[in-house]
Symmetry: C2
Subunit: 209 residues, 2 copies
């Protein structure tokens, strides 16, 4: 018989929980449903996770790492075209690769982040400060138009995350059951085109992700 490792099994439960939390929210999700979706008795879930809250927090936690990675282009490049191009690509990749976790996180923010640990909030705040500082620097050096950096970021977050968060709506209008590879490419290209030109960024030399 396949020797199931404890961490592997926790990961299986975590994945199932992630999808359920994404589809139904925290309060709308029953532990029994998570269990049933992977053919486990409810009590078995409790052998691996202390409580519903712990399980939910673990799901949130699993998304923090990818989330924090995305700002890398702002550190890596000293050119707004390169940085924004890669940033948009990365953020849309996250929507594509973590559709459920993205929605759990979105749901969390939507409701005022009641379960988001303070240290994570601090890290996100710090990152945003760094990114806006970098943008302001580029503006000051005449490398891009005088665009409010924070509101630019808000737009980028919203426009990229929307492909995960409001997946239902996207699929409705794209008349498809799931967003295709091509659609993600279209989304990325369109956004990059609008944002670079819209910010008056000319030469770009992105490395491409």
């Amino acid at each position: 018989m396949a020797p199931i490792n404890r961490d592997q099994k926790k990961a299986i439960i975590l994945n199932a929980a992630c999808e359920k939390f994404a589809n139904n929210g925290y309060a709308g999700t029953k532990i029994a449903d998570i269990a049933k979706s992977i053919n486990l008795p409810k009590a078995n879930i409790y052998y691996y996770f202390d409580s519903k809250e712990t399980l939910y927090r673990s799901v949130l936690d699993s998304f923090i790492q990818p989330l924090l990675m995305a700002t890398q282009p702002f550190d890596e490049y000293d050119h707004p075209g390169a940085a924004l191009t890669d940033y948009i690509k990365l953020k849309i990749q996250i929507s594509k690769n973590h559709p459920f976790a993205s929605r759990v996180f979105a749901n969390e923010i939507l409701h005022g982040a009641p379960s988001l640990p303070k240290d994570i909030i601090d890290q996100l705040t710090q990152q945003t400060s760094n990114s806006t500082a970098k943008l302001q620097q580029w503006i000051d050096r005449g490398m891009m138009d005088n665009i409010n950096p924070l509101h630019l970021l808000f737009s980028l977050w919203a426009s990229t995350q929307t492909y995960a968060d409001f997946n239902w709506q996207i699929c409705l209008h794209l008349k498809t059951a799931t967003i295709s590879e091509d659609d993600f490419t279209d989304a990325t290209d369109t956004l990059i085109k609008i944002v670079l030109k819209g910010c008056g960024i000319t030469a770009q030399e992105a490395k491409c992700v």
Copy 2:
């Protein structure tokens, strides 16, 4: 004693419900909490609304009208600059004026629109078709760059709604308790600037809302 009008009282309950649903989601909201927030006994809520589901549906319903109004600029103008300028202004106004209902609606979409009536979905689909057709027309007439109209709309929706939906996050980074009038102005101006220039739209003659 003040003669309580039935519709007025229903509206009061609806407002209270809207805020609670926005903050806690459908499953996370207790009828007793809605009642307590306006100092009514729970049973009184049930005198005006058959069930929690009915009340929730009514909240959703109340947001459909403002939502459908927003596309007016696409019918009213035959110039992408004018239309997009007013559209962005209108959409951000909605985030400002209906912060709770916006979030209830966002939550509904986030979870795959389980309670959205089919006829509303059809209306939204139809509107989107009209808007993208208009955009395509402007592109064909050389009035703007060849931008994928649907993805442009997705970005506009996301970027404008984010001020209501992810209000917590916006306030966190703006370091404020509530988004100020000036912040909304900044948001609007920034978005309009990026989008018009980003779409290669030159002359604009918006009426301003």
